[in-house]
Amino acid sequence: MSDTPSTGTQPTVAEKIFTFVDERVGLKLLAAKMLNESVPGGSRWAYVFGSILLFIFIMQAITGVLLMFYYVPTADHAYASTQYILHDVDYGWFLLSYHFWGSTAMVVCVFAHMSQVFLWGAYKKPRELIWLVGLALFALVMGFGFTGYLLPWDQRAYWATTVGVEIMDKMPVLGDFLARFLKGGPTPGQMTLSRFFVIHVMVLPAALIALAGLHLFLFRCAGPAGPFRGAPAELKAKTDYFFPRQIWKDVVGMAVVFACISAMAFWEPVVLLEEATPDPGDYHPEPEWYFLFIFQHLRLKMFSGELGQFLGSMGLPGLLGMMLVLLPFFDRNPERNIFKRPFALIGWVMLTASILLFTVSAIINRDFLD
């Protein structure tokens, strides 16, 4: 793609095609708008998480489509078809393992992206809408993880879903309806699998594409927030366009994430447990790792009893979610430097530490039960 004609008198075939499309679509203008975005303070590694998330989503979509060529979403064939993918399809084990670890990477990168926005104070006016749409995208990513976990139809999948739906059941007003709708019967079965599959491969991807588009549109309207500290002269001197430096950093970030997910797929490829049955046997039911911290604090005595279980499973996470939604509206101080916002810094450290602590506690508790 070149803006200037080649040195010869006649344009090349590529230039002719480019001109043809440009006359009809306005490619030059589009490319200029996409690439010549001003980045205050210059490119930074801290800004790569948004692009990385887009990359992970694309890779999840590609691997997901390839897996769907072989996967059968029925209760009597889901397990066998997953085993077939793992053992008989060429490179099937790598595709499935990449898809599995990709979902984990997505959760980690969403948390990193949200942390970066929070710590940089990039949710403040005029970027409140970007933050809200971002929160909705975070919920969708968690939904992807929750619905995808059931599909292999082994004991781990079955019981993680059972525990997850039971936690959802404790939600006031909507909880009972949602739990019954998702399960489609008294115990997880064919209806559950069908509904989770459709939500996983149709509803959530469509919603994510729409919201991600809106997120990007709002981001381009408001513009990047830039670093939270630095003298105006320094920021002005370092201000740069999105292309090429930020794009280069994004590409390197994507390569690193691809390498990390591949390394995880080699290190710990997906291995299924026994086929799902309503009898857990020796298996101790637990949700997937990113819900383990909620699961572990439900084991605490202070959250025992019906009220305690509700508070632990829905009350506190709901309160946290509500605080995140309202954050840009009650935090109206224009100060963005995180070192001058002690409550924000302490709050983030406490939340991250408690999530880590309870997740590791759940793993130790699992070993204790085993």
Binding site: H87, W93, K301
Partner: protein, 334 residues
């Protein structure tokens, strides 16, 4: 120019970006070696990642930790090869980070051969300090775990439920271990900063104003020939991708019990001439055996006839029963 930059800030300011600058290249090799099956990290992948990330300081410390302290980050010949390949990558990354740091943060002219100078200084500090850090951190963590367990085993706290007990113990020992690790890291960065301070002091001041410095700093981060750089990187990416798909196992290296493939025994190759010769030899051998048996039979029959003739001439000889004929029933004799 920040004349009074602390050694910790100096060490951290150079090492931290250098760690991440070299990582993508090192990761590419690590993934390839994993695909080749010459590296096995077992349960220590997080530790292996940290050691690889920090290879400018851990490159000589890893053998010490493995051989002298009996603790390894994984197995396989690929680990040694990986850390060997990390050396030129680290020299390059320390060079590029060092030059930009000298110019932008210290406002000094970066001296020639900066990457190599920074690398050997970092590697030297790491070779001595990282094993000390390893031992100290291990001892502190063990002591903290023992302390946390002994606190929870006190009579007053015995009634604490299991889940609460686990979280309290984890909080107690992990807080101590994390604080100790942070302190040890700060000391380590400070040591590296002290080692490279002399290089900073011997560098001359940069003559330009801030805007001029930023322009130079910015150009330092961009390759001189971008087309060549893009071509080289694209070529490397293609080669790595081909190698990756070539080395990637087709089937899972961890098959489930229910789906283990049956062991197929390969049949020996069919060689008609050899088999024909063997059969001919066998037929000849069997024919010789049959001939021998016939001769023996004829000889024994001849001997019998001769002995019968002798018996008729002398006393009557009682004939021994033929083993091949069925014995006569006892009742019939009676």
């Amino acid at each position: 120019m920040n004349e009074h930059i602390s050694p910790t800030k100096l060490g951290f300011g150079i090492l931290w970006p250098a760690f991440w600058t070299g990582l993508p290249f090192k990761l590419a090799f690590a993934v390839l070696f994993l695909a080749f099956g010459i590296i096995h990290f077992e349960n220590r992948i997080a530790l292996a990642f940290v050691m690889l990330l920090a290879s400018p300081v851990t490159v000589f410390a890893v053998p010490t930790v493995t051989l002298a302290l009996g603790s390894n980050i994984g197995e396989g010949p690929g680990i040694a090869l990986l850390f060997l390949l990390a050396i030129p990558i680290d020299i390059w990354s320390l060079g590029i980070v060092g030059r930009t740091f000298f110019l932008e943060r210290l406002r000094r002219e970066p001296p020639g051969g900066l990457g190599l100078t920074l690398w050997w200084k970092c590697a030297l500090v790491g070779a001595i300090y990282v094993p000390i850090l390893w031992v100290a951190q291990g001892a502190i963590t063990e002591a903290a775990i023992a302390g946390a367990y002994s606190i929870l085993e006190a009579d007053v706290l015995r009634g604490i439920p299991v889940a609460e007990g686990i979280s309290i113990k984890l909080t107690l020992w992990s807080t101590v271990a994390t604080v100790a690790l942070l302190v040890l890291f700060v000391v380590g960065f400070s040591l590296v900063g002290r080692m490279i301070r002399r290089t900073v002091q011997s560098a001359g001041h940069a003559p330009e104003n801030y805007q001029g410095l930023i322009v130079r700093w910015d150009l330092m981060r961009v390759p001189l020939d971008q087309g060549w750089m893009l071509t080289a990187l694209s070529g490397a990416a293609v080669v790595l991708s081909v190698l990756f798909w070539f080395s990637l196992p087709v089937f899972t290296p961890h098959p489930h019990d229910c789906c283990k493939k049956p062991e197929v025994m390969a049949e020996p190759p069919f060689k008609p001439l050899e088999i024909l010769n063997e059969n001919e030899k066998m037929i000849a051998r069997l024919a010789a055996q049959v001939e021998l048996l016939v001769e023996q039979r004829a000889k024994s029959e001849l001997d019998k006839e001769q002995s019968k003739g002798k018996g008729k001439e002398g006393t009557e000889i009682v004939e021994a029963p033929d083993a091949t004929k069925p014995a006569a029933p006892t009742a019939a004799k009676q």
